[in-house]
Each structure stands twice: as C-alpha cells, then as structure tokens.
C-alpha cells in the first residue's frame, strides 16, 4: 500500500507512523527531514518549498512503486510539505513498514535519495541578507 501526499499544512509524524503500522510488519523505518538553522555555516531564516504538484505526485508514486518492486515492503508513505517553513519544521516524512527491517531501511533510503534527484520540488533558502534556490547553480 502506498500513500503519497503534498500539503501546505504542517505534516503529522504520528499519523504517518500509525498509517504504516500493521500486524504483519516487524520493522518500520521513518525518515524525517527537518529545516536546519544553517547551510555551510550561514544562518537560515526560513525555507520556501514550491512543487510542480501533479508531476511531483506522479514521480513520488513511481518511486514508491519501484521501492515495492525492489524490496518486500508492505506499506510506504511519502508526505511532502510546500510553502514557507521555519527552522525545525518538517518538509518531508517517509515511512516504510516491512516484515523484516533490512527491507524497510533499504526502501526508505532509496525513496528519499531518489526523491531528492527526480521529484519536481524546489527549495529556496532565505538568509538575513538574501536567498538562494538550492542546487540551481553548479
């Protein structure tokens, strides 16, 4: 089972974990991205996330389906936040439940690694003295 969401409201970690928990699973791996207070030593004021919404949902669905093909995983959830986030807030939650932990770890890590490469979502870091679209320039 797969649950993919993009939301401009705060993500709810507990309800994500509740969704993946099931009596035939023994291991759950959860990745939670959080907004750091600094990048390369420079203080971050806030982050802004923009998504190409329908394509981003499609690409996340593809990643989830690939993960379910590659590993024996029962449930995989991806929730991504958009809009303005303050330091400490959560842009992304990935939760994976499997009968055995190795599959949960592998699938969770694959999902976040691939999401960061292919899903059309963009992050702008805002500093005291300016802002930058992350990864835009070489």
């Amino acid at each position: 089972m797969i649950d993919i969401q993009i939301s401009d409201k705060p993500l709810d970690i507990s309800s994500c974990i509740d969704w993946v928990m099931s009596p035939d699973c023994g291991g759950i791996d959860v990745f939670i991205g959080t907004v750091r207070n600094a990048t390369k030593g420079k203080e971050v004021t806030r982050l802004e996330f923009e998504a190409y919404r329908q394509m981003a949902l499609n690409e996340m669905q593809k990643i989830a389906e690939q993960a379910l093909e590659k590993w024996p995983v029962q449930k995989l959830l991806i929730h991504h936040r958009t809009g303005v986030l303050q330091v400490g807030e959560v842009p992304v939650i990935i939760a994976v439940a499997a009968a055995h932990r190795a599959a949960a770890f592998d699938a969770c890590r694959y999902t976040i690694d691939t999401l960061k490469e292919t899903v059309p979502i963009w992050k702008r870091e805002v500093f005291e003295d300016g802002e930058v679209w992350v990864a835009a320039h070489p």
Binding site: Y52, Q54, H80, P91, P120, A136, H137
Partner: protein, 80 residues
C-alpha cells in the same frame, strides 16, 4: 506553433513569470524548445542543468511537441 511553458523555482525568476509563451515550428522537438529557451533566456544555460517535462513526464531531446501538451521547465530539483 505557440506553446505555453510552465516555469518553476529559479526558472520562474529567469523567465519573469510562471508561464512563458514560445514560438516554435509545428514539428518542433523538445531539443528545439530547449535551444529556443536558452537563446531567449541565457541564464537558463548557466544553471547546473534543466529538464523539460511534457505532460508530467521528463522528456528527452527527440520527443516531438504538440501544441496542447503541458510543457514545463524543470530546473535542478531540491525537495526533501
């Protein structure tokens, strides 16, 4: 033909809006669109990379474009 191209992230700033109209030949490909965009907006060529998506899928240079396609400029993604 004229196509409307969606722009996101830094591409929105470079083209000066969330869509940009581009004039192409009627049998234009994604590669030709890229070339046209880079000519009109040289800052696009200075990005680490950019992709074109057609109807919510990443497209390659050979892909033909139709006027009614949903076309988008995808600058380097940075979600997560």
């Amino acid at each position: 033909m004229k196509v409307n191209v969606l722009a996101f992230g830094i591409a929105k700033e470079i083209v000066g809006g969330s869509t940009v109209e581009v004039e192409l030949t009627s049998d234009a490909t994604v590669g030709e669109l890229r070339a046209e965009l880079e000519e009109q907006y040289p800052r696009l060529a200075k990005l680490a990379s950019f992709m074109i998506a057609v109807n919510n899928e990443y497209a390659v240079a050979d892909n033909a474009l139709q006027q009614r396609d949903e076309i988008a400029i995808i600058p380097p993604v940075s979600g997560g």
